[in-house]
């Protein structure tokens, strides 16, 4: 589904990514783990295009998309849920979701997508008429993910979906992510600091350190290697 090879990027003169390569298979949940500041978010933003790639190759569904602008990628079904709560606080939950179906391709399936989103997040249906800014942190996180789903993606990249949430909610987030894979057939690439929860929920894991991929494998492989766990994941 997505194949990234030897990606390099950064900000100004500062290089953040030092040729990490990953591969995400269709219909799986892949996670990219590592502590703060190792370039995980930069990696997602570079794949999405909001940070410009310096070199390397990004292939999505067999097509090279390395230098395509973000709006074209979204149109092709590849989207990103950025870190933090990027929602339209002055609009209602319903309006936020409708904004998500901006693309012509997504607009015609608006009602269908809304039903799907409500079935994944029943709470949002109750909150439909409430201003998004007045929701709790967990609910706001749901809105940002739900809004991304409204654009009818095939693959979704999630940047720290569990950030700042209570442990019980974290579990709920991962359950929803698994539902998105099982019920909607989405391919998911996940960036997380919460190694414990993501190891339990994902199919394949990459461990990033200082802008490089240091290890990869199934969650079992990663868990069974003491070296990786201690050195990079702090478990």
């Amino acid at each position: 589904m997505l194949q990234v090879s030897e990606l390099e990027s950064g900000y100004g003169p500062m290089q953040v990514l030092w040729k990490p390569s990953i591969r995400v298979r269709k219909g799986t949940i892949t996670s990219l783990l590592g502590p703060n500041g190792v370039g995980k978010s930069t990696f997602l933003m570079t794949v999405f295009g909001s940070v410009t790639p310096w070199s390397g190759k990004i292939i999505y569904e067999g097509e090279e998309v390395t230098h395509l602008p973000t709006h074209i990628k979204v149109d092709k079904g590849l989207t990103l849920v950025p870190e933090g709560k990027h929602l339209f606080g002055g609009m209602t939950v319903y309006e936020n979701l409708m904004m998500g179906a901006y693309l012509k391709r997504a607009q015609q399936y608006r009602e269908e997508s809304l039903e799907l989103v409500y079935s994944l997040f029943p709470r949002l249906k109750e909150r439909g008429k409430q201003l998004a800014g007045s929701l709790s942190g967990g609910e706001q996180q749901m809105v940002t993910v739900a809004r991304a789903l409204m654009s009818k993606p095939k693959m979704i990249m999630l940047d720290e979906p569990s950030q700042g949430l209570a442990p019980l909610l974290v579990q709920h987030v991962f359950e929803t992510i698994q539902k998105m894979k099982a019920q909607v057939g989405l391919t998911i690439l996940l960036v997380e600091q919460n190694a414990d929860a993501s190891l339990a929920a994902t199919d394949y894991v990459y461990v990033m350190h200082e802008g490089r991929i240091k290890a990869e494998g199934t969650p079992e492989d990663i868990k069974s290697s003491d070296e990786i766990r201690e050195a990079y994941l702090g478990l």
Binding site: V74, H86, Y102
Partner: protein, 333 residues
Amino acid sequence: MGKRLSTYGPFIPVLALYVIIFLVGKGVQGMWQVMAMLTFYCALGQAFNIFLGMTGYVDFGYVAFLGVGTYGMALSITYLAHQGMTGPAVIIIGFLLALIFPALLSMAVGAVALRLRGAYFAIATIGVNEGFRYLIEGAKIWNGSEGMIFTSELNQVLGRDTASGLSTFWADVYLFIIAALAALVTLHFMRSRIGYALTALREDEDAAKVMGINVTKYKIIAFITSACFAGLVGGTSWALKTPYVFPPEVFEIHYTIEAIIIVLLGGAGTLMGPVIGALIYGLSKYYLSIILPGFQLLIFAPIIIVIIIAFPDGVMGVVKQRLRGTSLARFIE
């Protein structure tokens, strides 16, 4: 009809306000100049709102578009008069240049500056305005710092009577039309995918990108549209009304500040906001200068601060919120 009314209904009260301003100016003795000033502010606010209001980007160099629009009209009249051309065609070509110059400048500025966000964009645009002014003065483009005076050329092109009618009356009527057109375009944007995209990027640019919106494209559309209207305002109010142009005047940052105040007072991103802002700003500026000559700015500044604190979303922002859900709501935007 019902759908069209709900789509373009909010234009009715805006147009009504313009008609009232016009009728007061025409009917009440001695009010024409006041109303003409208000119209200038309305048109300025309405034009600036398309960019500032709809994108949330503050362009401190906005007056440059009025400036080059003024030059567009001035060059057309001066050059074509020397070629022996006369008649309204000269003015029409002038309007075209007053559109093309700001369009080109906004494309050039936009391509560079719109990559910047927030405060960086604002600072970059101050530089553009000042830079352009000194370029004209230093490189002696279009007569450099001496400016251009084209009273006799305008008389030659239109005849003395028409030319004086233009500067005392018709230029202001054109301004009314420009202001109303700018309002109509604003409403059209609001009701289309453009407005949808602009609202998203104003609220949160990162979220807008995730929705698949080509944010650069829509910012540039708003920027160029806004700049073109600014050019028309300059070409009309500054070139036709007063047939001369001096760089320090038409690139005076003061007008940008006024435009920002008007839009924020009235309610950025609303349709009627610029009109309300222009009325509050223009009338209080005018009457304060009569009541307290010399002290007007001292009184004026705190008044503006109080209004901004009382109405953080502008007057129309608050009105819109109050009317939400009522039957009046569809006539207010």
